[in-house]
């Protein structure tokens, strides 16, 4: 046990500040926390690896007031990855319907925006636009954690839709 305690003490705080301040991004100052429900709509798992990185102590999205939640009932932001496979469309829509308003849809990665490398397949919908038009998009394959953080902050500041 002393090894673990010593290691924790020695590691200290690794969390970095966001690369750009709120003044620079022009976003409203942070007032409340927001909860995110993630749905993988058929991604290759690359975006999920970067979402995991948001929760490591270096990026630490939770220290900015955001957390990933298990139930859509608790979520303010629906974060979607993947090109929206035919087989995930229904689960994605059900998740969105289960979220209380106001809510935002955040598309993370080129696949969720337009299908990415999987565009044109019989098995996908080429991204969110025809299913749940996103309020905010984050490009990249996959986008790096700092870009996703900025996307989450933008989604938080964007006008909510009530559908």
């Amino acid at each position: 046990m002393w090894k673990l305690l010593w290691k924790i003490l020695k590691t200290g705080t690794l969390t970095e500040s966001p690369t750009r301040t709120q003044e620079e991004t022009g976003r409203p100052p942070f007032l409340h926390s927001a909860s995110i429900r993630h749905v993988d709509a058929g991604s290759c798992n690359g975006c999920e690896l970067e979402l995991w990185a948001l929760e490591n102590p270096v990026t630490s999205l939770s220290s900015l007031g955001f957390s990933f939640v298990a139930s859509p009932r608790h979520a303010d932001i629906l974060l979607v990855t993947g090109p929206v496979s035919c087989h995930m469309k229904e689960a994605l829509e059900t998740t969105h319907q289960a979220m209380p308003a106001p809510k935002r849809v955040l598309a993370v990665g080129d696949c969720a925006i337009s299908g990415g490398v999987f565009r044109g397949s019989y098995a996908t919908h080429d991204g969110l636009s025809s299913i749940l038009p996103p309020d905010v998009t984050v490009h990249g394959c996959p986008p790096p954690p700092e870009a996703i953080v900025e996307g989450v902050l933008r989604a938080f500041g964007s006008p909510p839709h009530h559908s």
Partner: protein
């Protein structure tokens, strides 16, 4: 292990030995009886089925791994074929692959009792890859899947997914439980099916290579390397020594990064939340070095047919050696912390046991296989350059519980660090990429690599103009769902996330 002495690579039995670091051979037949007979012969000699698929030509293809090397067994079918013989009585995991062929191509596996759909969720008007194509329409209403029911006093079902509680890929798990104890687990996949086989068709090589990097995001190096090797064999391309070194280094980096993430997540799932905070910054540091040296945090597109996208300079080698030293020290400490932590070991031990017998029958390789007494590792078994120069050691355990799979991962990180160090310090340079010739006629090739999860197979057929006719890339994930289903019953529902993480199958690589 050399293949020269094996009866399977001699002309008498119909197997010819081909060139390449890992011996492999193509065996084509038009006779269903011969197809079954060869599969039986291979199985009785301890072979494992890796994957089974169909393609644009009416044919069934099976990738079967022997100790001596890889056999690509294929059965050519007539144009108007409606069925093919099932291998499920010879290799039990063939069933789900054959159900996939049934769903996608409409061909019926003869002798397979379970014809429930696997990839098809009832949203397509007819099989999307049928050899007699007609326009596909999407249906609004899918079908319910007939799960196997467990009956008895107090038995109830817990449906989980496709959307899970955390940041996880989608899939459905159906637990039949009594109280807290799982009696049966049945998986239902296909949610991430993207039609990759169809997407490969007609792509040029650079576009196909991009797709090959995105079969499963955690295995980008392994899948693009398997694809590149297949292309290189098809087009007879020689790879320079420098490129082989860079590829081997990238493959080991991918293994280390994934094992670090899995070990952190396993600690977290067992209740030691700080494990995530200790392991994941190490992985994050690797991703940052990947970005600055190789241009991508997850090494997507770093391996391309004919070469690598970024070579190694002296300064890069210095950076990687420093990182290597740091990881060695950090992971050594973390391994001792895990070993000393009674609570953690209590959760790991005797949880999710995959017995060596079941692992052998299912043909499980990779980390999960090696934790259950299945001593298969392409890096160890074959004299592939350059890794064999440094005598890779086999990680092997015989208990098959979560603790075994944790031990295997620690062992493999240290071994990968040792190999990376050796590769970096003896890097011959320069890493010149080969030019890609245009084939005068359709050509086929296959490649296989040991990814972080297990073997990854790549197969291609290339047309003149360097256009892909067909490609298939597969890792061991579909077999790992069988391993999971075999090891969860008898455990508590609450231990499922821990057991699942210890196998860590890729949903995307299963659904394709």
């Amino acid at each position: 292990m050399e293949g020269d002495s094996s009866p399977f690579f001699s002309p008498e039995t119909g197997f010819d030995r081909l060139h390449g670091g890992i011996p492999h051979t193509f065996l084509v037949t038009e006779s269903p009886d011969r197809y079954l007979a060869q599969a039986r012969l291979l199985s009785s000699n301890g072979a494992r089925l890796l994957t089974l698929w169909s393609e644009s030509l009416p044919a069934i293809r099976a990738a079967i791994l022997l100790r001596e090397g890889l056999v690509l067994l294929s059965l050519s079918l007539p144009k108007d074929a409606v069925s093919f013989p099932s291998l499920s009585s010879i290799f039990p995991p063939a069933a789900r692959f054959e159900r996939t062929i049934h769903d996608l191509f409409g061909l019926i596996p003869d002798g397979l009792a379970d014809l429930r759909p696997w990839i098809d969720h009832g949203l397509w008007s007819h099989p999307p890859l049928s050899h007699t194509p007609s326009p596909l329409t999407r249906l609004a209403q899918g079908m319910d899947y007939p799960f196997v029911r467990v009956r008895g006093d107090g038995v109830h079902e817990i449906p989980v997914g496709p959307v899970h509680a955390g940041i996880i890929e989608p899939g459905h798990f159906r637990f039949s439980v009594v109280g807290e104890k799982v009696l049966r687990l049945e998986t239902r996949m296909g949610y991430t099916h993207k039609g990759i086989a169809r997407l490969f068709r007609g792509r040029n090589l650079p576009e196909a290579a991009r797709l090959a990097s995105r079969i499963s995001g955690d295995s980008a190096v392994a899948t693009s390397l398997a694809f590149s090797k297949a292309v290189e064999e098809a087009l007879d391309i020689e790879i320079s020594e420098g490129v082989r070194f860079v590829r081997a280094i990238l493959l080991e980096r991918e293994r280390i990064a994934n094992h670090l993430a899995d070990l952190g997540a396993l600690g977290n799932d067992a209740g030691l939340a700080v494990a995530l905070s200790l392991f994941h910054p190490l992985r994050e540091a690797m991703h940052r070095i990947n970005l600055s040296l190789f241009g991508h945090r997850l090494l997507f597109d770093s391996v391309v047919p004919g070469g690598v996208s970024t070579g190694l300079s002296g300064a890069m080698i210095e950076t990687l050696l420093l990182e290597n030293e740091r990881l060695q020290a950090e992971v050594s400490l973390l391994e001792r912390i895990y070993a000393d932590h009674g609570g953690l070991q209590d959760r790991f031990q005797n949880t999710g046991i995959l017995s060596p017998e079941v692992a052998g029958r299912l043909g499980i390789g990779g980390v999960a296989g090696r934790a259950s007494g299945q001593g298969w590792d392409l890096r160890v078994d074959h004299r592939e350059d350059p890794v064999h120069r440094f005598a890779p050691a086999l990680a092997l355990d015989h208990i098959g519980d979560v603790a075994s799979r944790v031990r295997i991962r620690f062992f493999e990180i240290f071994e990968s660090l040792r190999l990376t160090h050796a590769l970096l310090t003896s890097f011959p340079g320069p890493d010149i990429c080969a030019t890609i010739p245009d084939p005068p006629a359709p050509r086929e090739g296959a490649g296989i690599v040991e990814g972080f999860r297990g073997e990854v197979l790549g197969w291609v057929r290339i047309l003149p103009g360097k256009i892909l006719a067909d490609a298939h890339i597969a890792d061991g994930s579909p077999l790992l769902w069988h391993a999971l289903e075999a090891s969860v019953p008898g455990n508590l529902v609450a231990d499922f996330p821990l057991i699942n993480k210890s196998f860590n199958p890729s949903y995307s690589a299963s659904d394709l």
